[in-house]
Amino acid sequence: MEQLKTIGRELAMGSQGGGWTGQSKEFLDLVKSIGEARSKAEEDRIILREIESLRRRIAEPDVPRRRMKEYIIRLVYAEMLGHDASFGYIHAVKMTHDDSLSLKRTGYLAVTLFLSDDHDLIILIVNTIQKDLRSDNYLIVCAALVAACKLINEETIPAVLPQVVDLLAHPKEAVRKKAVMALHRFYQRSPASVSHLISNFRKRLCDNDPGVMGATLCPLFDLITADVNSYKDLVISFVSILKQVTERRLPKVYDYHQMPAPFIQIKLLKILALLGSGDKQASGHIYNVLGDLFRKCESSSNIGNAVLYECICCVSSIHPNAKLLDAAAESTSKFLKSDSHNLKYMGIDALGRLIKINPDIAEEHQLAVIDCLEDPDDTLKRKTFELLYKMTKSTNVEVIVDRMIDYMISINDNHYKTEIASRCVELAEQFAPSNQWFIQTMNKVFAHAGDLVNVRVAHNLMRLIAEGFGEDDEGADSQLRSSAVNSYLRILGEPKLPSLFLQVICWVLGEYGISDGKYSASYIIGKLCDVTEAHLCNDTVKAYAISAIMKICAFEIAAGRKVEMLPECQSLIDELSASHSTDLQQRAYELQASLCLDSQTVEIVMPLDASCEDIEVDRNLSFLNSFVQQSIEKGARPYIPESERSSMFSVSNYKSHYQHEASSHTLRFEAYELPKPAPTPATPQISVSTRITDLVPVPEMTYYTENNQASKLPPVSDASSADHGIKLHLDGVQKKWGRPTYSSSSSTSSSSEKKINGVTHLDGVSLQSRGTSYDSKGQQSEVSAEKQKLAASLFGASAGKTEKKPTSTQRAPKANTATAERPGVTGAVSPEISKQKAASSPSPDLLDLGEPITATTTTIDPFEQLEGLIGPTPGTSTLDNSVTTSEQKAPDLMALYTDTPPSSSSSIGSASGDIHSADKNLQMAKNVPAIKKGPNPQDSLQKDATARHVGVTPTGNNPNLFRDLLG
């Protein structure tokens, strides 16, 4: 046996012609050893070794070109398996320069696989591509065009564009086609670069060759997507092309499974859907051919269904036509009734499109939709959720959202979890029937997908709780709040909660924890302290918690009650005052400071339930005017705005420069150079003030000292100003702008600050502004117009049920379905919601989701009739046959091949029966009798023999390798 193998190898080395023996023995061995590798780690080891040897050998001088070609192919192989072969890129680039087509083609193939369009080496290839585009040999031109599609980037487009445009008139249709595709790619890369060439696409649409015409549809589709109106004149042309295609006017070679050029049909239908959308006149031209298509398309083949599906998409996109809609609905129901999962999936998708036009269509398919929802296939399930999402209205929102949440909890796929969570939130906000339900739903979403949902969802929720449902019903609002507080206090008992959810909880407890008098302040504060300890929470949550504690304390003080400081709260404050996060530190100090204030001040600092108040930002800081005035009277210099100051800077610079010269040997306390003027007006002053602080005692960053500092600073800086003229102007400034920490707070200070003026209340001011700005930060920045609408829609839904107006363009279609809802359904359905589970009525409404309707799904062998439509799904009966027959034929072989993968009987059958055995994919062959001649035993035997020669014997590892892909 060993001998035979070696003989085989020698043979393989000798014969370069047949089979796969184009490559050297080494390469074949490599591929073989990869094939036999049992683990990814082993595979990686082999490839790494190979890369090492290639790295060495490829750099050798005078590598023969043929050998080099193989090295390049081996590099491609290594890259394909996920390893880095970048050391060889340059050799691939060199190979594209070669004169021989074979080598050039290999070079181009390698560079298109290796390089992305922003790679540095691209610049070395552009020249070659330019040259090859001018070649006499059309095959070289083709290779260059394929490479251009992949490699030419925005900057290099101009270098090849003229040549590619010239090639649009090339005598060979293959070149014209590729030139069109290249221009399409250029358009995608940089629409502006080819905008003047659009007429060329129109011209190519009339090309004699159907292949070129078909290729032209790709760029036209993109162009029309971008700008529909400029192409309305083409509607008639497209319709007539589609008509000709369906009438089989195209050459026979474009037929695919007895369908005339289906891929071109699909592309045309996509374009017509765009052109007819919202255009009654254009749609009028399309109706006729669409009707024909619905009649002609046979739904027995997969490709026929693909075209039918595209027709449905087109019908749902263009101006509605009753007759066509009926035909589309009929096809959709065929899809949904089919046993093929693929067709069901397409049916659900089609239904989602059609209900936008006519919501009643969904009516008759409720059972099918529910079946799909219950289906174990995740893909189908998700598609159905998408449909339900489109169908949601206030009458069914509870059922649908509950379903969605259940599903969300059951999956691990974070990407989809995020999506479905945001959909739940969206629906809940839009259609929530009651506050209670809404809060509960949001709790569930946050608890299970809290870290995945968008931050703005949390802010929305907080805002909603703060603002209530929009009506002037204070009772309902406070009920909502107290139910939120109750549920949050309950939830806090759970061991692990997402950070975003904790933030919401802290905020709500802080604002409304004690507002209904049910819970004592110390109870809530205790809970909030627990939050910071029990959960591994981050700084943000801690910040929310401590601010909430501060609010509660402030409310208590304002109400005239005494706040007793819990020990855990005190220790929390102590801990946070020493925190590394300055934000937390500041909040802790603020809390401590607010505890010492009297009730009147506190009430101004922390007004009760004022989170919805607007905060007016007084950018001119007019409330400080009297203070400034006072200082000026005392002899301080007036503030000089930055714009007028610049000239002085340079003068003083010059001066100080001189002084530096003089004292260059002593220590310098000056800042080295002027900071760049920052965009905010506050910064330059601050940075200038740091110049003084070199000579002045450095102000500490705590509040308590501020009063002293503020009064102390001016004289000191006056003293120092004797040396440096520049500082003279800063007295007033210093006081006015404060130190860096406060600049931000003072810029957001509220109008109420006006009441407190002067230095003495400075920390009160900053404190208040910090506190309020913190709460309002979320809202202020988040309260965008869109969200306000969103909330409005939620309120509308809760109060007026279905009488909801479309609140934004984005939600318009859904709102339409809600308003268009038939009144009958509402009546029949609402009682069912309450007794959903116990529903014994046979009404097949969508809301009966709780009811198990499985009778319809229990078809025993649904795939029998669809056999042959979908390749990989085997009809069980045929499979069994193949196994038994092959067992009879070759029972001894069975023992040899132990099947590794759990693909079970199917692969065993093929292994033993070798290539001749009835393959599980036999249906495929049945499906295409005209094209396929079926398995060719001779061919396969020959291949098997060559394989053994090369030494690649199927060592029981994977006999499947020899199975024909098409049975």
């Binding site: 790619r185 995608q188 891929f263 999962h341 390798l961 098409l966």
Partner: protein
């Protein structure tokens, strides 16, 4: 638009990859790992589509080889399924009853064929005959060049001997 084409064996081995959208080498490995986990685990009667990261992946199994194509959310899945089949039929015609081993050893030829069918992620030619003719033309030219080269090198070898 097709974002990438993957050929994965039943055991999760990569047989061919073609990326029409930019993915770094690291992302590619991740994509392959994720998708092979997702697709190979699916039962036979389920949909041939998988929703993945906001895209859709259409796959079809032939013998022990999975052909996967990743498309945008608004593309027609059934059409892609047929494009895969179109590709396989052309491979079959070219190799003569194509089997996985053909693709393993001649992956570069499979790339050439794929380049004639798809370009920049779009179907460029839907006629099997046209593709076959073009591939044959390229092959014959390559062969001719090869023969010429080898005869020349033979002569040189003889002369320099």
């Amino acid at each position: 638009m097709i974002n990438f084409v993957l050929l994965i064996s039943r055991q999760g081995k990569v047989r061919l990859t073609k990326w029409y959208s930019p993915y770094s080498q690291k992302e590619r490995s991740k994509v392959i790992r994720e998708l092979s986990g997702l697709i190979l685990a699916r039962g036979p009667k389920l949909c041939n589509f998988v929703e993945w990261r906001g895209y859709k992946v259409v796959y079809r199994r032939y013998a022990s080889l999975y052909f996967c194509m990743c498309i945008n959310a608004d593309d027609n899945e059934l059409e892609i399924l047929e494009i895969i089949h179109h590709f396989v039929e052309i491979l079959d015609r070219y190799f003569g009853s194509v089997c996985e081993l053909d693709l393993i050893f001649n992956f570069h030829k499979a790339y050439y064929i794929l380049d004639e069918i798809l370009i920049a992620g779009e179907l460029q030619e839907s006629s099997k005959k046209t593709v076959a003719r073009l591939i044959a033309a390229q092959d014959s030219l390559v062969e001719a060049a090869k023969e010429q080269a080898s005869s020349v090198s033979n002569m040189i070898a003889q002369v320099t001997k």
